[in-house]
Point group: D3
Chain length 280, copies 6
């Protein structure tokens, strides 16, 4: 299988079982997010959406920490949005800056909208934009040396690429969410585990990676119609009333239930044998 995923800041590979591995790889810069990095994340996960060979994804980062957050040196050059002139009319600057933020958000949201489940593995620090990113993943696991900081408030801004939208909806403890968003304090992995930010904590990165790939392979072996539908419907339902979620599900499944997978899976289930499912 040729690798159609060539990036500068990401290492991407896809296993024969359909598990893609995305490794953020700017370890020399502590995986700080420059524009290149998030642009490539957007491109990579958008490509996953229509790549039937990809059935589930493991997202990790190279080096001693997951990410130091936004690349502050690039941010200071102000290459954000269009009018580079510091004296430019603020409404004009703001208009283009808004479009810039929307692009940034869209890249991170591609992780969510790719419809393939994504398991994130966090080792070392995961700061600022790192929280925005893992909040857009499906499952999060960490190593014992991991720590987390909703760092944006410390650079004078409100997080704007997903943390404030998604973190409160993935962790059922609003008192905790607000405290860590207002104070930017360090969160230890056990604390992250106890509030549900991560599903499990492993002693070493190797252990965590092994667990992540095990889970991803398990998912990749299921019917891709069932898996993709489940992720899509979970995301839709999070953002709608139960009633609207049910109605959207009904129309979605009136199509999906015509898949051969369902009969194959039921038959396999009745015979207590494994089933094979063609790619999406």
């Amino acid at each position: 299988m040729a690798n159609h995923y060539k990036f500068e800041c990401l290492n991407v590979s896809v296993s024969p079982e359909g598990v893609a591995h995305v490794e953020i790889s700017r370890p020399q810069a502590l995986n700080a997010f420059n524009t290149k990095t998030w642009t490539e994340i957007g491109q990579c996960f958008t490509q996953f959406k229509t790549d039937g060979d990809v059935r589930s994804v493991v997202l990790s980062a190279a080096g001693r920490m997951f990410t130091a957050g936004l690349d502050l040196k690039e941010a200071m050059t102000g290459a954000l949005g269009k009018p580079h002139d510091a004296d430019a009319d603020v409404a004009r600057k703001g208009y283009y800056h808004r479009l810039f933020i929307l692009d940034f958000q869209s890249a991170i949201s591609a992780v969510e909208s790719c419809d393939k489940p994504v398991v994130a593995v966090v080792q070392g620090g995961c700061l600022g934009i790192g929280i925005d990113l893992i909040s857009a993943c499906d499952v999060r696991i960490a190593t014992e040396d991991a720590y987390f900081m909703v760092k944006e408030v410390d650079i004078g801004m409100a997080a704007d690429v997903g943390t404030l939208q998604r973190l409160p909806k993935i962790v059922g403890n609003d008192s905790w969410v607000r405290e860590v968003c207002y104070t930017a304090r360090k969160i230890q992995p056990q604390e992250a585990h106890s509030v549900g930010l991560v599903s499990s904590v492993y002693a070493t990165t190797a252990d965590a990676m092994r667990a992540a790939f095990d889970m991803a392979r398990t998912i990749a072996a299921k019917s891709p119609v069932a898996v993709v539908s489940t992720k899509h419907l979970l995301n839709y339902s999070r953002d709608h009333s139960v009633r609207e979620g049910l109605e959207y599900t009904a129309i979605w499944n009136s199509l999906a239930h015509n898949s051969h997978d369902m009969a194959a899976a039921i038959m396999a289930s009745l015979k207590k044998q494994p089933a094979q499912f063609p790619k999406l």
Copy 2:
């Protein structure tokens, strides 16, 4: 009190205090859900809505497991929706199949929309549609031999009668929710307890049933206006913004506060005596 609740797959009784007991009873089929079963659940809880004699409900299942999930044998006969012809135009099949799913959803949602609090007791396995059903209940308790599986992905489909809508809103750990929905893995009762899927775990079914009835009787002794209003408003507010929830509550209570119950309850509270409340 005559029993107006005669069903094939359910045993239903109502106590003088106003506690209804609904027991799913197809133990020989491990309480697998055929069309009859969920149709009767819909009918039963719809009837509860206008039955003033019912103030709270305990829902349990007979035999060694809560439910094995969807009745796969019936499902394989394809009696889902209208055109029975396998060669039928897919748009026509889909149109009727969507109506079928909406009916199924509506039956399960009757548990939620009946406005009387429902306490579910889970013993043994609770698979697939079982999760959809208990997610529509108010309080869930389990026995030590209980286990849970969001099984749908293993029959090649996305859960479509409530799990994907309600489970993430009753459990504040999205990483966990997604993992169990994508992998269909077995969930032990203590794990279910720790994420909040169940409120408590009891050694035996007898203990769990006793606890459920205690809670249901406590609720049944309160003002039914207050209890029914509380359930109704919790459900409305889950699906709306805080502001819309408050405004709906204001108009609801501008009526409900005219009830005699409120004065009676305040008086009893000031006198530190129990109050009696007429049925709804």
Copy 3:
């Protein structure tokens, strides 16, 4: 700094660092909420919104309990809404009573809409309206003698000033939320902690107050633009889809990113020095 905050039922002070302290002070009545009390809470937090000297808030209560709940004696005089005549047309009574509830709700919601983070400290009992109030705060901490009761059902009504809207969204355990709302049972501080109703439990009120002020001072030292934006966007995002939350954030930050605070904070961060931020 002159104190512009003179109230009958509240003691209010603002520290030089920008931490306001609001103390509910009707200890002789166990801080029961009469109309005066909630009216003043509304006025006080509304004033905070446009007071640049206030950057964060600690909310506590004087005496041996946080609050006994609604002032039942006042409630029994029926001074709720306009037509005092018991025989008045129920639609007319209801119209004005609805406006009364909306006013009450609005006062409590001022805690949320003031845009400055609020840390609540609960000692002793916190009943009924007390739960509505602390649910509108950002962070909740308690002492070991604290206990909580969603008491409204025991006075024959559904909670109508915020508990049913906010509690399920701050605690990720719906089975627990519904149980305590239907039964009005006593909740111990450790239980409140384990479900996430409170972030931490301290041995004494003094310890809890110290922790609250530490947190509030930490927040007050951050950029007020960043902090206020974070609270505002968390509230907006709770009530909207992720997509709508992101879009609102983009337009909000296209303005906020023009603040001097961001450059100052980034520079300080790069130099590893503390930054000073002017008041809002």
Copy 4:
């Protein structure tokens, strides 16, 4: 074709082309709506939804006027909702009365949710509930002796089975809508035509009926998949943002485009020949 539509207050027939005719028939009572009438309307249109033999509908009324509105004599007996006791607790009465209104609304909304286009023909007076009913239809035509009154305000109530929801969305003149809702004044057919309440005005009932059946037959000859989808999507889109409407349409058509009808219709269109479409 046997007639499965036997009602007391309605005459219903279905033509071989698939045009159903529903005639409200209580001329001796000026077609005043008693409970029987609207209950049957709900039943009839619900049945149409799953009856493939029905492709479009003409709705008219027998006698000299379309309807005099609500049957006031029945209304005065107060048979609305459950507790018949005038002294019943107002919250209890209100609870059941709300369910009664929801049932009434649901019956009228069945005209909208049946998914088959409905052409209403109005002759003589169309008062009160008559406006609610025709607002739930797709196309409205009138005779020159027709007149309309949003009469509810004159019986001391706000219209509650659809007029206030639908009328402002079918007529693009809010100043006019509000005037006629507040004053209950008589609307002449030409005025109804000029604001778009009706699409056309005919000299005689016979002319209007002929025009209605012509339109209904034209619709019945189209692909029922296309027609039903169009009505369903128009209704969904009215109640959602353009973006949500488009997304729902995409999932709907990803199923519907698999229909044989589309290829048949395109082929017929390219060959400039008529196509035949099997029933839904």
Copy 5:
């Protein structure tokens, strides 16, 4: 009846029948809107909401034009929001300016939220904020010398106190709405009539006033419960789906139907006699 409505920029009187007349009265400044003017409009209509003596309202303006729009001289002094310093941090200025806009919007929206129908009479020019204001009224009538301009784009801004929200929802011609909003061109009264911006056009101001008061008196003679409910529900329904509008209406009317007005009105209707309704 004492006049509780004393304002600087408004003349307000209330007739014995319950018709309030609000006259904007800064004719020397062509009724240009300074802060005082819109603040008083907010106060006046907020007071109407709880004043049972007011059942309907006529809104007009003194002098030769309805309003020249925003008072540009005041606007140029920049007294908008808090930090008066031109060099103030733009995020801080923006924060307070947003609160200023919200206050302005809230004043204009009071016309809508007062629940009493408002008939606007426009003579001479109605520019900028004038359109925002009349769009918040229920019924609009004009004189032959009236003209309208959505003027904001000509002062370099998008209309922000209601025109862009309400105008497209009161006029069913989006092509026209957008043209006049982008070009700020003059709209003649007949054109305003033909698109439905105004309900009728009268030769003289006296004629228009007479028509407005006739309509207002007609409305004031109806059951105030029915009228207020109708306005409230029309506004709610405009902003919600048909389904949500119906459900809100059901709970609203489950209260309102307990009013004595309904029985009185039905009885009067059956006896063909006028009914008298006590004030709200």
Copy 6:
């Protein structure tokens, strides 16, 4: 000014005043929409969004008709979405087909989301996708030989790229909208004018083009901040409640009001002189 707009199916030019002209140019195929055509429309209008040189747009089509609709020959080759295999699993085909429709919709919606006002000129026939396209424009004008057909139902499908979402919101006559969507009948230009589908009808194409460019030039001479804000806010407000529209407008204008344009425009207005506004 170099022309950055090179397309195969479109001729695009931008005047020095900032008026872009987009001409659909496949006259030999009656401007039937193949994939290339709509893809380029999406690209062109997306580019307009960030091109400050473009302030308003005129959209027209070359040859004797605006468009014959979808290119049926291309459609019959089935190049819609991914799996080209007719035997492919219907759920898999549907998944990719849905993404295909979303892409198509997104291209048409670019006309709306480009934030620059678009005036469409229709001559000759405007069928099917042509209606979807002009419904996404701001202002529509036609020639006397124009005619319109919502043609989709005649090719066996529901319109899915915007007509069913936007047409009912731009034309305030639902009875008419539904009739033309169900019957696909021919609409004459005067009829289109009377329902508000087009703003005006001109004798010749030359006249219509002249009127369109006059309007576009008028718009291009206004502050681009004001114009872009107005279009953006009209679109946002169409899809939200009045309250949400107002709140979004407040945050938007708290930025936009910092523009130099506002002061320049007010000054020019007070001096009664024209103002010049720099490009966005």
